[in-house]
């Protein structure tokens, strides 16, 4: 900020259409991103409230390190009481919104209350405050059509968070999309139904105009720069980063398949006979063969040196979708018996355009296949069902409300979800530590809450998985509070002290070596307290029962981590 002040809390009431700017309370000051969301929701939101009602709040919070173009550290967390889980939910994404918010001096943006009258709005935020425009001409349009219209109206330099038709219809699978550095609205705070909460507040889009803003202040610029350099170097030499850059997250397909954990035909098998056709190796080969606009190494945020994103184009030289990620491939590919990356990409584009979570929709479509609503592998039928979602028909709403609703309506027990949120593409019976995460995290079936794939442990052995999951859940909650992408983990892990040095130089704090874990534990403690007050008990920390009795081919594993072990995972935090 021009006068050297630090960030403020911006509070928007959608009923009165007013903005207030408030000093940051002391207890909020030391948190950012996911941890700050948990603190704010616990302080301000009745945990038993209706998620789509006037008492819920939708909060946007950049992480503690956001604002300085540190590689892979400009992520935005969005949170609310989730309409899918009924508890705390945070979801984070890359793109440009977090960076713009910090340039504007926004520590957190809180949207509250309910609109006084029907109709959607565009909320425009700038250094001069808030202004409102009716969004009547944008209602019903997908994000790929809306984003260019908003850029034409408000200028090419703004950041935007917006919802698609899915959010307007308050679907459980609706997320909130943000622009990447090429201004494509492809970076989605996807999971947990946060787009439905934004829809309930009748906000189609928030435009962040950071003109006249500036980078947030740094207390000790020399020390910050030194820490930044150490981090960038550690990141650049780590072998894992090279794999990410060349193959993206799709690198995981063959490994997860070999471990017997690739969701196949609605999680009825962990190995897909056509996995190679949807592998990271195949995706890279296609992108290199096809040439521009295909690009296997694309950065989703300015300044990112990892560039794990990609642009996936067709044979005709037109872009199909960007990015194409592992979890989407898993849920829309093997999970539906679709072995064609072009088809998966086209389904992904439709889902993105409607502003929906491709994991939740993929899981719901898998349930639909099992119920006979769609033949396995029938891409045309999948596309028809997505058009039903777009038209908001009853069948479309069954898919769009997510896997659990789909299972209940269609009479299918085999629903891959925990706390109402579908499993990303790791079957918890064959990567049991991640199963522990799916069961015990407030985030539900979300690998970003604590993926144990990299932990040196026998993934099929129930022993030791609770400890592995605990460590990963704490670290991930820490990274989400910093605004650091999980992909940056190897950099931080091999440059000890860098997180400490970055925070101390940025804020003038004196945090210690264990700050990542301190932040992670604090975040989990706050989230769990919110859920406890919302009525959650150990009964909510379970995987679906069928996963404990239905053996998963090819290794015939069930989820057999004992319940009493699950219940002990965070006793020190409760």
């Amino acid at each position: 900020m021009a006068d050297g002040r630090d960030l403020l809390v911006w509070r928007v009431n959608v009923r009165t259409r007013t903005l207030t700017q408030e000093a940051v309370p002391a207890t909020w000051d030391t948190l950012g991103g996911r941890g700050l969301l948990a603190r704010i929701l616990l302080d301000e939101v009745d945990p038993t409230c209706e998620p789509l009602g006037p008492k819920n709040k939708l909060v946007f919070a950049p992480g503690l390190l956001v604002g300085h173009m540190l590689s892979a550290c400009d992520r935005l967390s969005i949170g609310a009481k989730s309409p899918l889980s009924g508890g705390f939910r945070e979801s984070n994404s890359g793109g440009s919104t977090g960076l713009h918010m910090t340039s504007m001096g926004i520590k957190a943006l809180i949207l509250e209350d309910w609109p006084a009258e029907p109709g959607f709005w565009i909320l425009h935020l700038s250094m001069r405050g808030a202004s409102w425009e009716r969004a009547d001409d944008l209602v019903g349009l997908g994000v790929y059509e809306v984003a260019p219209k908003l850029l034409a109206r408000f200028g090419n330099k703004v950041a935007i968070s917006l919802i698609g038709p899915g959010g307007e219809h308050q679907l459980g699978a609706a997320g909130i999309q943000n622009l990447d550095k090429e201004r494509v609205p492809s970076r989605i705070n996807a999971r947990g139904g946060l787009g439905a909460v934004m829809g309930s507040k009748a906000i189609k889009a928030i435009v962040f105009d950071d003109a006249e803003g500036q980078k947030p202040p740094i207390k000790d610029a020399v020390a910050f720069k030194a820490a930044q350099k150490a981090f960038t170097l550690a990141l650049s030499v780590h072998p894992q980063i090279h794999t990410y850059r060349d193959y993206g997250t799709a690198a995981n397909v063959m490994m997860v398949d070999a471990l017997g954990a690739l969701p196949t035909r609605n999680f009825s098998s962990g190995s897909y006979e056509k996995a190679e056709a949807v592998s990271g190796e195949r995706a890279r080969e296609l992108m290199l063969q096809r040439g521009a606009p295909s690009n296997p190494s694309h950065g989703c945020m300015a300044g990112c040196t990892i560039r794990c994103s990609n642009v996936f184009g067709g044979e005709d030289g037109h872009q199909i979708v960007s990015p194409l990620e592992f979890e989407t491939i898993g849920l829309l590919g093997p999970n539906l018996d679709i072995a064609d990356l072009d088809v998966i990409g086209r389904l992904n584009w439709q889902i993105n355009d409607m502003g929906l979570d491709s994991i939740e929709i993929g899981a719901a479509l898998g349930v639909a296949c099992e119920a006979g609503l769609m033949p396995w592998g029938d891409a045309n039928r999948a596309m028809e069902l997505l058009q039903e979602v777009r038209r908001n028909t009853p069948v479309g709403r069954i898919i769009g409300m997510g896997s659990v609703v789909a299972g209940k309506v269609l009479g299918i027990e085999r629903v891959p979800a925990a706390k109402g949120i579908a499993f990303s593409a790791y079957d918890p019976r064959a990567i049991k530590g991640t199963g522990v995460t799916f069961a015990t995290s407030t985030q539900g079936g979300d690998h970003t809450a604590g993926l144990t794939l990299r932990v040196k442990i026998d993934h099929r052995d129930p022993n030791g998985q609770v400890a592995a999951s605990r460590t990963m859940q704490i670290n991930c909650a820490g990274y989400d509070t910093l605004g650091a992408c999980l992909m940056s983990g190897p950099g931080f892990a091999t440059a000890p002290g860098v997180i400490r040095d970055l925070l101390n130089s940025r804020y003038g704090w004196s945090v210690g070596d264990d700050v990542l874990q301190v932040l992670g534990r604090e975040t989990l403690k706050l989230e769990r307290e919110f859920n406890r007050r919302a009525g959650f008990t150990h009964a909510n920390d379970r995987l679906p029962e069928w996963m404990t009795r239905e053996a998963l081919p090819p290794f015939n594993t069930v989820f057999d981590v004992p319940n009493d072990e699950l219940d002990q995972i965070f006793t020190d935090l409760d």
């Binding site: 072998p239 894992q240 794999t243 193959y247 997250t249 063959m254 490994m255 794990c308 592992f326 979890e327």
Partner: protein, 74 residues
């Protein structure tokens, strides 16, 4: 002895995806990786006959070994 070797991602570059190799008796996973020019530090996961294995594990006639570079979630 004959060992079936499966390689993934960057390990395939300049090598192969799937090949049967003749190995000396008592060879370990690490020996095999060395022979292929793959540094131990770049290996994220070893599967021998679909079971997770360590670098020091000895191979036996007819084994299938899969080598993955370090990757993680997305």
């Amino acid at each position: 002895m004959q060992i079936t070797v499966k390689l993934y991602l960057t390990f395939r570059l300049g090598r192969f995806a799937n090949q049967v190799l003749a190995c000396p008796p008592d060879a370990t996973a690490s020996h095999l990786a060395q022979r292929l020019g793959i540094p131990d530090t770049e290996i994220g996961l070893i599967l021998i006959n679909t079971h997770q294995a360590e670098l020091e594990q000895h191979l036996v006639e007819g084994d299938t070994i899969a080598l993955f570079p370090i990757v993680g979630g997305g």
